[in-house]
Symmetry: C2
Subunit: 268 residues, 2 copies
Amino acid sequence: MTKHQYVHGYGKDDSERLVKQSEALEEILHADEDFPAGTQILEAGCGVGAQTVILARRFPGSDILSVDISETYLAQAEERVKSFGYTNVTFRHADLATTDLPPESADHIFVCFVLEHIPEPEAALANLCRALRPGGSVTVIEGDHGSAIFHPESPDARHVVDCLIELQQRGGGDGNIGRRLYPLLTAAGFSEVSVTPAPVYVDAGHPELVEGFTEKIFIAMVEASREAAFRAGISDSVRWDAGIAALRRTKEPDGTLYYSFFKATAVK
Amino acid sequence: MTKHQYVHGYGKDDSERLVKQSEALEEILHADEDFPAGTQILEAGCGVGAQTVILARRFPGSDILSVDISETYLAQAEERVKSFGYTNVTFRHADLATTDLPPESADHIFVCFVLEHIPEPEAALANLCRALRPGGSVTVIEGDHGSAIFHPESPDARHVVDCLIELQQRGGGDGNIGRRLYPLLTAAGFSEVSVTPAPVYVDAGHPELVEGFTEKIFIAMVEASREAAFRAGISDSVRWDAGIAALRRTKEPDGTLYYSFFKATAVK
C-alpha cells in the first residue's frame, strides 16, 4: 500500500475523525474481548493510534506491538499513547504485505479498519498468521460501506457513498470488505473463523448517535473523499453537495441511517 | 390492499415458505417478548397463521384476536392453530386500512411482515393505535430487502432483489420499510418508539442458516416473484435465472449473505 492509495488521507482532520470514530465505537466493537496479563498483542496497522490507546487501556498487563506502514502515523500514534501515559506499547514500521514480522511471536493479533485499504488482504492475513503462535488468536474488524441504507432513500446519498467505494477500489482496497472477512480469514489459513455483524442503527430516538455516528463518523468519512472524487472525475461539486445534503437529511426527526461493521475472530 | 397487490401470492408453496420463515426466525424476532396472563393481544395481519401459532404457544394465558384481509389466509390460519390444539385464538376478517376494530380493546398489538404490503402504513398504524388501550404496547417487525448484501457482490443478484422491491412498490407496498419503522410509528401517534435491527448474517460456518435462511427464506422469497417480474416486463428468464444463480453462489464455502429485519416497540 502506498500513501496515495489511502483514501482517508493523512491530514489532521482525518486523524481527529479516526480517533473520534474509535471512541464512539468502542462498546460496539470491543465489548466482548478479554486477554490475560502477559499476552503479546500485535496491532497490525495502528494508524494514528486511535485503537492503540483503547487496547493499551483495556489490557494494561499486555505487551502491545503496534506496526504501521506510515511513519507519519506511527509518530502520531506514539505521541498519543505517551500523552495518555501508557507504557505497554512498542511501535515499529512494517508493511503488512511484505514484512517478515517475528514468526510465531504474537499471542493475539488485532486488525481494525486496515484490510479495507490493502490491495492483497489475503497475503497480509497469511503474513499475520505466520506471526501468530500456534493456538494464538486474531480479531479483525472492518466496515462495509455497501451495507449503508438510509431513510429517506436517495440516489444523491447513494452517489457519494458509491464514490467512496469506487475510490477505495481504484486504490486497490475494498470498502465492502466486511462481508468478505469469513472467506479471507479461511483462505489465509486460520481456523475456527467466526464473524459477527456489529450494526449501528440511528434514528431521532438516539440523538447521541445522530451526531456521534451519522455526522461525525459516517458523513465525515464520506466527506473526506470529496476532493479525491473530483480529481478522479467521478463527481462534481453540485452532485457531491446534493449527496452530502441527502445524507444530512437522514438526521432529521423522521430520518434513519443503518450501517454495519463486521467483527471476525479466528485461531491459528 | 387488494389481493393482486400481495407480492408473495396466496399459493400453498407460499404458505409453507411463510411458515418455515417464521419458525427459523423465531429466536431472532421474538427473543425478548413477555406478556402476563390475561393480556388481550391483537395480531394485525395474521396471514396463514405462521406467527399466530408462535404467539399462541409463547403466551398461553393470553387471549389472541388475529385479523387478516384475506378470508383464504384466515381459514388456513384457523386450521393451523386448531392442528396445534391451541384454544386461545379468535379469528376475524378485517382490513387494517379501513376497519374500525373495537377501540381501546387491546393490551398489545403484534404486526409482523404486514406493513411492507400496505399502501398506507401510516393510516393502518393510526387505526391500530385507536384499537390499543391507553398505556398498551405495540410490536412491529418488518424486513428491509434493500439491506441485503452478498459476497460475491453481483449485479445479477442485485437485479432479482431490485425486482422484488420494484414489484412491492408497484403494488403500493414498500420492501424497504424496515428502515422507516421509527418515523411511521411516531407519525401514527405512538410514543416511546424504539427500533432495534435484527440482522441475519450467513456464511459457511453456519450451515443451518445457509439452507434455513439463504435458500429457504431469502432465495425462496425472491423466487416467488419470478412470474410477476416477467408479467411486469422488468425481467426475463435469462436475467432472472442468472440472478438466482448468483444468489445461490453466496451459499458456496466462500460466500456470505447479510439481511436485516427491524423490530419496533412503542406504547400508546
